[in-house]
Symmetry: C2
Subunit: 252 residues, 2 copies
């Protein structure tokens, strides 16, 4: 059994229930968004038009919860530790979606920035702290009903770490790639008051600089803005571990 | 007027009628595939599943021939020098598709390898000869009715040029990226007998090695295999010049 298969089994059997950060390092992790088939073309188009935030790595066949290309045999209904379920514009978090899955759902797997954590660590960039998911005011390109502002990942880094992190993440264009902003959070309207993940944001320590990446939670915000009647997504930082090895997947 | 706008105007007014290779160097060029809306989701899915061959850079709104993101004001019905039109599984080439455009067509712009010709030249790799478009036996991942083998671009390069070309093209993941094969054409079933573009293939000169890239003609082969009733595409090596500057678009 590979570390990725072991991680998925631990999640399926509820031995691992927290964030997937640090889990099966070196394997590509994905965010999940499953929408009714009637919305699938609009959603795929929204992802194409906003590929920095929504890099689509696989689209399952309608009704299927098995990502045949990224992890044959896996089950998207049980193999993520936590889900965000949206019904009629309202969200709630659950740990199992077997009873909620529908035959008309089309599941999208979207590359996650957690993927390059191991590469960042090797480059001397710590990934175990100073990391938040925030709303911003950066616009996305609409497609059909999907529209809204970009959700971003903010990390606090030293200047040297910021440079190394830019170099490393640039090698992962299918997992949000290079930063979209460095410096003042206000310049992109980042909402430090209401972080979506990572807890309260204190004052930035002297000598550290905020660095921002497009975040895979963006399509959830777009779905909420669209008032979609039903959507199953990952909970922030609770992703799906694929069989793809990040070092083989990244561009050279 | 920018070199890209000038090139499109020259094409629209029939002053430029040949291949777009070497035209407006430094600007991202795209291949075209316009399919009826009923096929649009399957086609977008086919492109997503085969993004090395079909990197989608823009999808226009149904019926629209204006690529608002890549070249606002341009007209995809007149701004390519030559088109391949497929009806009921048969293809023919025309130079203007205004009379053929339909309200239900969804136009896809797919990154072209011609885009990195200028960067190859700067790296000492000649691009004005030894270049063909060939059928191969490499499988693609099917989506709905779309399926078939990959079409490839073959270049003959010296070993040093092959290394430089691999380095340079890797920086352009949205334009087919790195080579998919180096060496023996038979290993990927490349059909040297019936090239789709570039003329007859002679014996490879001593000291040169064939290098292969995924090619944007692939979706046309898939559409033919699917027997789609109608599709408008670019003719091989007759692309669409966008306003995007390649050096800004490529990943660092």
């Amino acid at each position: 059994m590979t570390p990725a298969q072991r991680a998925r089994l631990d999640i399926r059997e509820k031995r691992h229930t927290g964030s997937t950060r640090g889990l099966a390092p070196g394997y590509v992790q994905c965010n999940l968004a499953a929408v009714p088939q009637a919305l699938a073309f609009e959603f795929l188009l929204y992802c194409q038009r906003n590929s920095r935030a929504c890099p689509v790595l696989e689209v399952c066949d309608p009704g299927s919860a098995e990502p045949r290309q990224l992890a044959p045999g896996a089950d998207l209904r049980t193999d993520l530790p936590k889900y965000s379920v949206y019904e009629n514009g309202r969200g709630r978090e659950v740990t199992d979606v077997r009873a909620l899955w529908r035959k008309d759902l089309v599941a999208f797997l979207i590359g996650s920035g957690i993927t390059f954590d191991a590469a960042l660590e090797r480059a001397g960039v710590p990934t175990d702290r100073y990391r938040w998911v925030l709303n911003s005011k950066l616009p996305t390109v609409p497609a059909g009903r999907f529209r809204g502002a970009m959700v971003v990942t903010m990390r606090w880094l030293t200047p040297g770490q910021a440079i190394a992190a830019t170099q490393v993440s640039s090698r992962f264009p299918h997992n949000h790639g290079a930063p979209i902003h460095i410096g003042d959070p206000a310049a992109i309207g980042a909402d430090l008051e209401r972080p979506l993940f990572g807890g309260a944001v204190p004052a930035v320590p002297a000598g550290m600089v905020p660095v921002f990446w497009a975040c895979g939670v963006t399509p959830q915000a777009a779905a909420l803005a669209a008032g979609v009647d039903f959507m199953i997504a990952h909970a922030p930082a609770h992703g799906f571990v694929t069989d793809l090895e990040a070092d083989k997947f990244c561009t050279p």
